[in-house]
């Protein structure tokens, strides 16, 4: 049996950042078309996966697939506004870790 792989293993780069004080956005870049297509295929990485990871409502999660860039973009409202008392990460720059460590089964592999 194959070792389970994480999204971070499959992707070239996973990153997170504020998109203004009220939103967070995550970008996943892939090195090859095959890697991109394996994760961009329906059912591999969906709104409910992201909602579970970040404990946000699935309806708030936006997923954009960008085949020309071999990238997937995910955006949702920040559960905590930037800089407010319980904010743990002012720039949201480290919030990609849960996504990066998500086990994935790329389509066709």
């Amino acid at each position: 049996m194959r070792e389970p792989r994480t999204l971070g293993d499959v992707a070239d780069l996973v990153r997170s950042k504020n998109a203004g004080p009220f939103w967070m956005t995550l970008d996943i870049f892939f090195a090859t078309d095959a890697d991109y297509e394996g994760v961009a295929a329906p059912g591999v990485l969906e709104r409910r996966n992201v909602a579970d990871l970040y404990r946000v409502p699935p309806d708030d999660v936006h997923i954009f697939r960008l085949p020309n860039l071999r990238a997937i973009k995910i955006s949702f409202p920040r559960p905590v506004t930037q800089g407010s008392f319980t904010d743990r990460d002012i720039h949201a720059g480290q919030q990609y870790i849960p996504l990066s460590q998500l086990p994935v089964q790329p389509h066709g592999q």
């Binding site: 009220f22 800089g83 008392f85 849960p98």
Partner: protein, 459 residues
């Protein structure tokens, strides 16, 4: 390609004024025929403190250094220099601060030019009236807003579009120092003033708004962008860096919730049909960007209010037994502290906030952290927020002996943990929060902004 007289070439030297760039990159941009220099001085990205206090995150020396290079180059070439979002948050104090630095440089270098300053700070009363008239609209996700929220703001700014800057250019300004503006307003003002089409203009402006971020080496300095009727061309100013179709297209993802659509006061940029092509190894051509004009002109508002006063303390823990149950240790501490604060200060949990961030364990991700291994060492950052500084510090002082000595369970030996400083309590002053995520409908794109134009003459 034959250059049309309307085409414009703009240097965007860095992602933030005061961030630094090699002076040679500006010389190179001027040699390549730049028609203007534009740079942004701010962002909300550093948090609500800067808008709340009206102070800059950058140090004056760094801003003076960057402006010295840009102002002398722009005046020598007789091309406009535009700075937007002066002083980080774009408050009136931020514009005045940058204007004073510009004046000092002009004095030192014996310069003469026309200076326009554009102010974007808003009065709470005026916004309250607009709210009552139904002209203030929430963006997602917006909190509740009423007159009290507006009055609580230390500063409110409106993000100007290109129009006030274009008016200043038309009025003959050589140097424009603007308050809060969209990141794209300066480049857009330069291009739209010449009658260039909005699709290529806004996309070009968005591409360069972080300087070298759209290149292979974001730390190498800025870029030069040429905008024309059909599209735009962008290249780095550092000969060792490059723009590639991927680096340019990928920049539309950076700090944007939607990679294809970007809202401006006058409409929406749509890059979904844009095509990115390598001209040579360093230069990229982009065509196919579109702009949809809005039926209603809107100005985005930003407001920052004091949410209380904070005192913090940092304690280090290396004891493996405590680290094995660090979450329990924090829970016990929090319970005892709650009781003591109630007993000693008469304060209920609703009257103050505390937070324990266990750095080395899960301070950054909290409950979301997928890794549950026992840490080797942890720094617990304790944070108390209360209605005034004295109360926040009193809570931290009550926490002090617990942070220092709290055992996991009843023991004959009291442990002592490692405070980082003496005293451990550090007063942070006022804590600010962003409280507005709204737009305001306006009849005119310039009505919320005030421009002053003067002749600077130190020749």
């Amino acid at each position: 390609m034959i250059r049309d007289a309307r085409d414009i070439s703009v240097i965007f030297p860095t992602g933030m004024l005061g961030g630094g760039f090699p002076a040679e990159t500006i010389e190179r941009g001027i040699e390549l025929g730049a028609d203007a220099i534009a740079v942004d001085g701010g962002s909300t990205d550093s948090g609500p403190y800067y808008l709340g206090t009206g102070t800059a995150k950058t140090t004056e020396t760094a801003v003076e250094r960057d402006l010295h290079v840009l102002l002398t180059a722009a005046r020598a070439a007789d091309i406009p220099l535009i700075v937007t979002s002066c002083g980080t948050a774009g408050t009136n104090s931020g514009v005045d601060w940058v204007a004073a630095i510009v004046d000092a440089i002009a004095r030192e270098e014996h310069l003469r030019f026309t200076l326009s300053t554009i102010f974007s700070e808003q009065h709470a009363d005026a916004i309250t009236a607009a709210l009552a008239a139904g002209a203030v609209k929430p963006l997602s996700p917006a909190g509740a807003i009423d007159a009290q929220v507006l009055r609580s703001c230390e500063h409110i700014v409106g993000l100007m579009g290109f129009e006030p800057i274009a008016d200043a250019l038309a009025g003959g300004a050589d140097v424009i120092l603007a308050g809060r503006a969209t990141d794209t307003a300066s480049v857009a003002a330069l291009a739209l003033s010449r009658g260039l089409p909005p699709g290529p203009t806004w996309h070009a402006a968005k591409t360069v708004e972080c300087g070298g971020f759209c290149t292979t080496n974001p730390q190498s300095g800025g870029v030069l962008v040429d905008i024309d009727d059909a599209g735009f061309t962008v290249r780095p100013l550092d000969p060792n860096s490059a723009c590639t179709p991927t680096t340019v297209a990928a920049h539309m993802l950076y700090e944007n919730a939607d990679p294809f659509r970007m809202r401006e006061p006058s409409g929406t940029l749509d890059t979904s049909q844009a095509e990115y092509r390598a001209v040579d190894g360093k230069t990229v051509r982009v065509e196919g960007s579109r702009f949809e004009p809005a039926t209603q002109h809107t100005i985005k508002l930003e407001g920052s209010a004091i949410a209380g006063y904070e005192t913090i303390a940092l304690v280090g823990i290396r004891d493996p037994n405590v680290l094995a149950e660090i979450d329990t240790w924090i829970e016990i501490l929090d319970e005892i502290l709650t009781d003591r604060v109630r007993a000693l200060l008469g304060l209920d949990r609703t009257e103050y906030d505390t937070q324990f961030s266990a750095y080395g364990h899960n301070a950054v991700l909290g409950m979301l952290d997928p890794d549950t291994a026992t840490p080797r060492e942890v720094g617990v950052l304790f944070k108390a927020r209360a209605r005034d500084q004295a109360t926040a510090t009193a809570i931290a002082k009550i926490a002090n002996p617990l942070l220092l000595h709290l055992p996991l369970r009843v023991e004959s030996h009291l442990p002592s943990f490692a405070f980082a400083t003496s005293p451990p309590e550090i007063e942070r002053g006022a804590a600010y929060e962003f409280v507005l995520n709204h737009t305001i409908d306006v009849a005119s794109p310039v009505e919320l902004f005030r421009t002053e134009t003067i002749k600077v003459n130190h020749a």
